[in-house]
Symmetry: C2
Subunit: 465 residues, 2 copies
Amino acid sequence: MRTILFLTIFLVSTPFFSQNEDEKQIKAIYDKALTNGKAYDWLNHLSNQIGGRLSGSVQAQQAVDYTKAQLELLGLDKVWLQPVMVPKWVRGIPEFAYLETKPGLTTNVPICALGGSVATPDGGLKASVVEVQGIEDLEKLGKEAIQGKIVFYNRPMDPTKINTFSAYASCADQRYSGAAEASKYGAVGVIVRSLNLRLDDYPHTGSMAYGNIPVNQRIPAAAISTKGAELISTTLKLNPDAKFYFKQNCKQLDDVMSYNVIGEITGSTYPDEIMLVGGHLDSWDLGDGSHDDGAGCVQSMDVLRLLKETGYKPKRTLRVVLFMNEENGLRGGKEYAKVAQSKKEKHIFALESDSGGFTPRGFSIDADPENLKQIQGWRSLFEPYLIHLFQEGGSGADIGPLKNDGIVLAGLRPDSQRYFDHHHAENDTFEHVNKRELELGAATMASLVYLIDKYGTVPPTKIKG
Amino acid sequence: MRTILFLTIFLVSTPFFSQNEDEKQIKAIYDKALTNGKAYDWLNHLSNQIGGRLSGSVQAQQAVDYTKAQLELLGLDKVWLQPVMVPKWVRGIPEFAYLETKPGLTTNVPICALGGSVATPDGGLKASVVEVQGIEDLEKLGKEAIQGKIVFYNRPMDPTKINTFSAYASCADQRYSGAAEASKYGAVGVIVRSLNLRLDDYPHTGSMAYGNIPVNQRIPAAAISTKGAELISTTLKLNPDAKFYFKQNCKQLDDVMSYNVIGEITGSTYPDEIMLVGGHLDSWDLGDGSHDDGAGCVQSMDVLRLLKETGYKPKRTLRVVLFMNEENGLRGGKEYAKVAQSKKEKHIFALESDSGGFTPRGFSIDADPENLKQIQGWRSLFEPYLIHLFQEGGSGADIGPLKNDGIVLAGLRPDSQRYFDHHHAENDTFEHVNKRELELGAATMASLVYLIDKYGTVPPTKIKG
């Protein structure tokens, strides 16, 4: 009995890692990030010298050149560009829209084309409006009610969800598939309530797709601000005959060549085991893409620098990848995975930061139970930095294509309350990123990378065995 | 062995509270706060219709009137004003300062008088500058080096402290006592680096005191922006003879009458056991006091409303107290405790929100181990709302005077990374408060109040027994 008790206490109280050395290394990482971080300076350049970086744009290419040059300055073992063809969609002249309650009586509504949308006719498009709470309402209403009209998707994000990404996920189908679905019922256009929890005047763009709808049957799609959505909804209740007008001349051009930007520190002991940190370098065009995802890029770059500066030499190969075209195609993420597979590269870990540069709260982890358990076992090391979340499931869009049995995928999880105030909108700008919050994110990522490098992941053979 | 094992499992897995009912009530509180909160509207009025609420000012009185009227609209059992005499310090015309590297060559420096400071002579004050890293440097330098000079306190906040309040606490002596100490060595004035982790152009005011220094020996004290501090420090290294000029005509007037604003829901079962929630209604005058501490006031008000609106009737008396004069005197907090003692009121719990309206992370708890343990035992109920901190020690300045053996004191702990960017400065304004973050704070407070009301605190007799 006594022996058993002793053993139990021993097993419970002795962690399976060298707590003290790890504490010191992690403290060194956080201290360095908070006193001598580079992420904020890099972001300043990306945001204020370059700006919005829509795939295929001049700014996207400038960002490729800039980040490659900055990675080269870090003295990594290797820095290169990985070519990838990306779609090139252009917004054209600023969109314009109004609500017409009766001829001559109009109210302007803040609007922006959704990424990938076709233009309206040259003179714009005016039609009656049918408000729906989602795609499922279309069938209930039927062709008769929708034909010749503009469908107005107005299901708001659920404010009671503490994780605002869940609220986003429950609404994004309206934006992504709303036009394709509405066109099947004869709609002439769609407008979508911005995916924003706040009532304000910013329209939030984002990707949409027409699926297999023939080109000549595609209808224009735009986002309107949340206040605009409230205005239209209220007006329609009083006056169901109100008409909506909008004009946009966006255009899908031919694909163009672009690049993923990659840098690596080659592993000293296991160079064939690759750990990846990354974000996406492209952004939407309305703001400067500071939170989405300039923040994730500069944090990922700083992970390598922080480890170098604290004198840590990775045993495994540590690679930073700044993916191109997450927003409207995911071509960079797909290409990276394709090349990795063709080269038979062995990725054991990939961590993406693509949820804004806010105070980090922890990680989401897409892994088998053994690996999840190992990471959760490091919880106490993160406690001093107020990192508490080690939740199962979810990582990042760009690293998703790498998924296989042998890789642990993870996503940095910052505080999500303010993210959708800025997401894909004109106000996703540098002044809304706090330096310390950004730096804490980089340090949190670097600390997890350090632990993965030191202890490795649990390989699939061991799990199966 | 088997019985012991069974018992162990039973004890571990069965919480000592009705988890399910509590989960439901807490969810109802958060849902209500996020869908139908009032805190943000109230704060909008306090910040944008009233503004900075320095003790003794017209705005402070407007805030008393407004919040009393709003509490009356909530249909509480009792709303009243508690009179308290407060100091009245006025800033006068905007301060002005420059650094003079040689006669005629000057650079303006953003500056503001510290609260409680005397004015400079009418024509301002110009003198050489001696830079120190803290009060302890004065003795090392001695009277000879300091006499006739302006002492420049330039110890920055430590960026490596994750809790920025710790960094603040390690520097605030320079601001509070810097003038009193420097005057003992013959200094003619002091300027203090703003207590701000960020490099920017905002001077941050705050309280200071002269202790027992006679009135005619008091020297003027001001805060300069962090960028101003860097400028002066760098300049002094190149040119130790550079002079600093500043002019301020602030003044301490006679004390005036003001009020704590109090409202209560009388307890249904134990009306004599009082639970208090509160913040302070006064603020500094430079910004509009949105984070410090408009946020804490409106959150505290909403605690009572949220419990009412979710149909919860407290068994104990729940009181909201909006304290006057936390910033430069703590008269409201002291008066409240004095009256409570004279009336032999039994306060079992007091919770203050005075750390900004940012995403709540948890609580600090100033209580005996038994009560601390009880609260920490509720941890899992807060987990879905990402509330993880239940740390020992610290509550709030206004409720501090209530401390005795029979009371549990607590402070709401929001994310602290951005707080000192705004604290006591011109940019502590409404647009820097996020609605959801504010509401989550109110819900977090209301949830703890609910649990304390339902389960009570562990009384001192039981602890001693």
